[in-house]
């Protein structure tokens, strides 16, 4: 309970921003202001070598979340993963730095 009280505002901020990001992605995909066009690097590679060449580049592995084709679902999972991984890593960094000081 104490921990929840201590982190009340950060947690509220996380939830609010998470909701806002979901809303932005949902609206973006719905009204179509988000673009499916290739980005700068893809554009350069496609212009020079063609789209098929780009799609057939050799990769040593299959990204294990690439089966998620729905971009909205991928967005939610990615955001949750980002929050978890970054929070976990910086929690460890903080602990390690403080332990070193004491």
């Amino acid at each position: 309970m104490g921990a929840i009280k201590k982190y009340k505002w950060p947690l509220i901020t996380i939830l609010t921003i998470f909701a806002a990001l979901m809303f932005v992605i949902a609206v973006g995909f719905t009204i179509g202001f988000l673009s499916d066009n290739p980005d700068g690097l893809e554009r350069v590679l496609i212009d020079y070598n063609g789209e098929e060449w780009l799609e057939n580049l050799f990769s040593p592995w299959i990204p294990f979340l690439s089966w998620i084709t729905n971009e909205y679902v991928a967005g939610i999972i990615g955001i949750v993963l980002s929050i978890s991984v970054l929070t976990g890593t910086f929690y460890l960094i903080t602990r390690l730095k403080k332990r070193k000081l004491s």
């Binding site: 980005d39 700068g40 350069v44 993963l81």
Partner: protein, 223 residues
Amino acid sequence: MHIPDGLLDPITTIVLWIVTITIMVLGYFRMGKMFEKEDSEKMIPYIGVLAAIIFAFQFVNYPVPGGTSGHLVGGTLVAIILGPWASVIVLFLILVIQSLFGDGGITALGANAFNMGIIGGIVGFYLVMLFVKILNNTSLKKELKVTIATAIGSYIAIVLASFICGIEIGISGTIPIEIAVPAMVFWHILIGIGEAIISALIVFYIYKTKPDFITTESILKVK
């Protein structure tokens, strides 16, 4: 600007991995006193939020004239908020997550972190610092100085990162360097406008609502 697997030659890939890992290790030790403070744990959830924002904004592409699109890289933005050294680690971890979805290659992670984290973050940060120094000679408000410096710094950083990316592609022999570099720079001169606007707006918003979240204010020496 996410380089996929199979694009860079092994030597370029390995060299960029070594440089990125070295800078990340150095970054861990030079991350500043921010994470040693009594209440530094309170920063952690906000770092998570920042990561979510960067992931979401990198995920969504805005249209750019000429049949291409752009997305936020966010290196300079993270560097302004958390410091240049922490930004490399943040960007690297976000790129790891994106590679799980197939956005950017796993072998190219070193190169992607170099371009977006080190050029976008560290170089971008010092560019912002330079522009803050120039703007300190004006009578603009503090938040406006940082906002304008962020816009210019992040713009130059993204164009510079695209220049470096073009060199990497050229060295790897994928596309001749004399074609890769101008083409990459040309598209990112357009794409960078979005990067500059989004980064500047977020920095301005944070300055207005929670200025202590800009942990680099003392390093930036804003007057």
